[in-house]
């Protein structure tokens, strides 16, 4: 496709020029259509109803920067309003048109990341994100327990106490920051399930944050540091296979790690939800304890919208005895979100809370449903909060599987 250089962000400096150069064609592809199918599926836009927070605006701003109308300082705060769920990309007519044939996808999530990175590079910071990045850099893990509770190396494996999991080995289980420090029942459940199924695995010698939130909020240097450390740690312990229980870790490792390391192909990144579905399917994990609940499933955005993973979790839920599963199809759930992604709860907790409230309300509308099951620890904190006020319990899928396999987590 022919490209064309126009004015190139006059007066905004070399960084902005390079950014505009990279994104100009994509921005025009959106700008020239402007049909905004993305808008009503966007979880943030559904709440704020503010055109500044639409994927269309995120692209149009690039054109405006190209024409010299706007600078990153004018728009940086707008780009906070994105959970990076990917709904807009799926709903974009540009994706729908050519997606099936060329695997093309409008790359709005990447654009938002790039704009946030440009802001940071130009010294335009969001206060809480900066603090979050600084502490992650200092502690190695994200400050998920509050600004003053250190999430240090000495505690990153505390969740595994008593489970006798070795360090290193060919396969390791990567427990992301939120799970390792906050919702510790999730990694415990996964570990118990894997042990019961006879899967040999260890834990990392020194696990740092996957770096995903650093890429998402624009702190690319910190992200690189985290990723490079983790890959070094895997090599140090002879690890070839990494099981991710959190979709955020998985997508970070498969999208961001390979360009950083020429030898990345030696690693296999496995999604726990796929692995557990396989273990059940192959009869290696017996689910015998009936679970007397009526559940619906929340499609985590990074699984469903970003990676197209929606079958494994449903397969798992259908295998749990006693469970009544009221499903809402994954396409309807393109417009659902917990609001927990993309750093939104760090900067705009009130928005995350409202997005979660609406998601839980959707579950509440379903007849007889008492439990909302997710497969993403990040989503579970705000969903649980909202569930309390709406009378819906929130479980992680692995918590239910472990219970059905006879464990207490």
């Amino acid at each position: 496709m022919a490209t064309e250089k126009t004015t190139g962000a006059p007066g905004n400096g070399a960084l902005t020029e390079a950014f505009v150069e990279e994104w100009r064609n994509a921005a025009y592809n959106c700008f020239s259509s402007g049909h905004k199918f993305c808008r009503e599926v966007c979880p943030v836009m559904q709440v704020t109803r503010d055109e500044r927070h639409t994927p269309t605006a995120f692209h149009a701003n690039v054109v405006a920067m190209d024409k010299g109308h706007l600078a990153v300082e004018d728009v940086a705060e707008d780009y906070v309003h994105c959970t990076m769920c990917g709904a807009c990309e799926l709903r974009c007519p540009n994706t729908l048109f050519t997606g099936d044939f060329y695997r093309f996808r409008q790359r709005t999530v990447d654009l938002v990341k790039a704009m946030r990175a440009l802001a940071v590079a130009k010294g335009v910071h969001q206060k809480s994100w900066k603090r979050w990045a600084d502490l992650t850099d200092r502690w190695g893990n994200e400050p998920v327990l509050g600004w003053n509770v250190e999430t240090s190396q000495s505690k990153v494996r505390a969740w595994a106490t008593g489970l006798e999991i070795p360090i290193g080995g060919e396969t390791v289980l990567f427990a992301d920051c939120e799970a390792a420090f906050y919702r510790t029942s999730v990694p415990r459940a996964v570990a118990l399930i894997l042990q019961a199924a006879g899967v040999e695995f260890g834990l990392m010698k020194e696990q740092w944050c996957c770096g995903g939130p650093m890429w998402e909020t624009g702190y690319v240097d910190v992200a690189h540091k985290m990723a490079e450390h983790n890959m070094m740690d895997w090599r140090r312990t002879g690890t070839k296979r990494v099981i991710c229980l959190d979709p955020h870790d998985y997508i970070t490792m498969v999208e961001h790690y390979p360009p950083l390391d020429e030898g990345f192909d030696e690693f296999e990144i496995v999604l726990a939800v796929d692995l557990v579905a396989e273990l059940i399917r192959d009869g290696r994990l017996a689910l015998t304890t009936p679970i007397d609940r009526t559940v619906t499933y929340h499609d985590p955005c990074r699984l469903n919208k970003r990676m197209g993973v929606h079958q494994s979790p449903r397969e798992i839920l259908r295998a749990i005895p006693g469970l009544t599963f009221v499903d809402v199809d994954h396409v309807t759930q393109w417009s659902y979100c917990s609001g927990a992604g993309g750093g939104l709860p760090i900067e705009k907790p009130e928005l995350t809370a409202e997005i979660s409230r609406r998601r839980v309300a959707k579950a509440k509308e379903l007849e007889g449903v008492d439990t909302l099951v997710s497969a993403c620890p990040w989503s579970e904190r705000p969903l649980t909060e909202q569930g309390k006020t709406q009378g819906i319990e929130v479980y992680d899928i692995f918590e239910l599987v472990a219970e059905s396999a006879g464990f207490e987590v």
Binding site: M1, A2, E4, T6, R24, N25, Y28, N29, F31, S32, S33, G34, H35, K36, F37, R39, E40, R49, D50, E51, R52, T54, T56, A57, A60, N61, V63, A64, K67, H69, L70, D74, V75, D78, R91, P93, N94, L96, F97, T98, D100, F101, Y102
Partner: protein, 502 residues
Amino acid sequence: MATIALADAVLEELVAICGEEHVFTGKSALYNRARVPAPFPVHRWDDHIPQAVVLPTSAEQISEVVKLANRHRIPVVPRAGGTGLTDGAVPLRHGILVDVKLMNRILEIDLEDRTVTVQPGINMLKLSEELRPYGFIYPDNPASYPCSLVGGRIGTSGWSLIGARYGHTRDLVISFEIVLPTGEIIRVGDGGGKKVRKSSSGYQLKHLFMGHQGTLGIVTEATLELVKRPEAEFSAFFAYPAYVDAWKATGDLARSGFATLAGVVLFDEKKVEYLRRDDEAYIPQPDSVKSVVAVAMYGQAAEVRPAAKEIMRIGKDSGGTYLGDEISQADWAARHDRYATPLHGRTRSGQVVPMGWHCEDAAIPYSALPQVRERWHAIADGLRERFDMFDDWGMFVYTNGAFKPWGDFLTEIDIGIWEMRWDEESWAAWVDAKREIGRVAVEAGGSLSACHGSCREGEVDLVPLELGGGFEVMKKIKCALDPNNVMNPGKYLLDRAYEEVD
């Protein structure tokens, strides 16, 4: 930025009315509400920036904003989805932009009298999602169905793809509340009661306050039809060896007399050629297929199933070849996702370049369709000849009448534009071409627009020609209702009304 900031005192009043969190003056808030879908004169983006944006939450707030605008003689521009194709939501004279998107609640679902009352910021797809559990839909179904909003549909008097069966916006909106250009809040419908479909009492104000492109007020609430979800649907695509055969078949189908007929769509030869050339999602067809007719029906199974057999017979009797279930069902179902067309078009040499889509529309009597088609393509050819940044993407023709789909047709020509190339010269040529397209429509006994409105540069010049004495009445009404010309000034040549008064 060319725009002068509003006085602090005015901003303070806006904040007092709408609340601090709903008043914006930041650059990105303003720039992102100055634009509408393509083709947008990106080289002139600066020219139409609002001075402030408000996101009100009630009719009373909007009324106060409008009164404030009158006191200070500041333009007020309503904006709903901002998806219209005739610049209705573009703040031509700057001013205060009233964005109604926060007003998106469903106020009442009345299953007994079959109405749903909503605020203007709700989207039709979202509304239909909410109505689904009750077994109803709201079938106002434009190409922008997933993103346009009820308020904008009223402001533009929109056209619906399935209007032949269910009616268009004007038929589906029973009554609505509107803030007049002087700030009074009134309700208009066919008659007095907000749920009455047919009245003969008084002037028929509902029609006056629809399709005015925001020049006569801001809608704040609407009572809409609640339509039973169709039990059955049927769609069929037929292929023809020439445009003229397809045109004849379109007439036969549109006149078939079936109440469940929801729409007939004719793809002309250039359209089929374009889809074959550049639309990777279009299901491949043999070269003998030159023109295509799509037809759809919705309703109760007892109506649709027998009627479908007759439609198949008409399609075949007219020389058509049924194109199979795959395209008939899938392409029809995907119409909305696909109207924005691909990312690319071609230069004269065949080079693929990134192009945006633009569509010129008109209402044309059936008998005049073939000659209009030829003249429109000639205009597009001339444009492409002069500037190697335009591409002719062919024409669609759609049934236009509500409930009576015969007679006149929504006629569209799709033109690809390499928007990065806009400059004053190419823009001027484009505007001239639009004016010529409009002139052909009017000369053929048609209307400048069946669907988008006719406010944009180029076609707007022909509005007085099209409407004749009606345009004089429009000016009088505008002056009477908006004495200070604050409500979306600059649209529809209505500024002339005030020049004449002066």
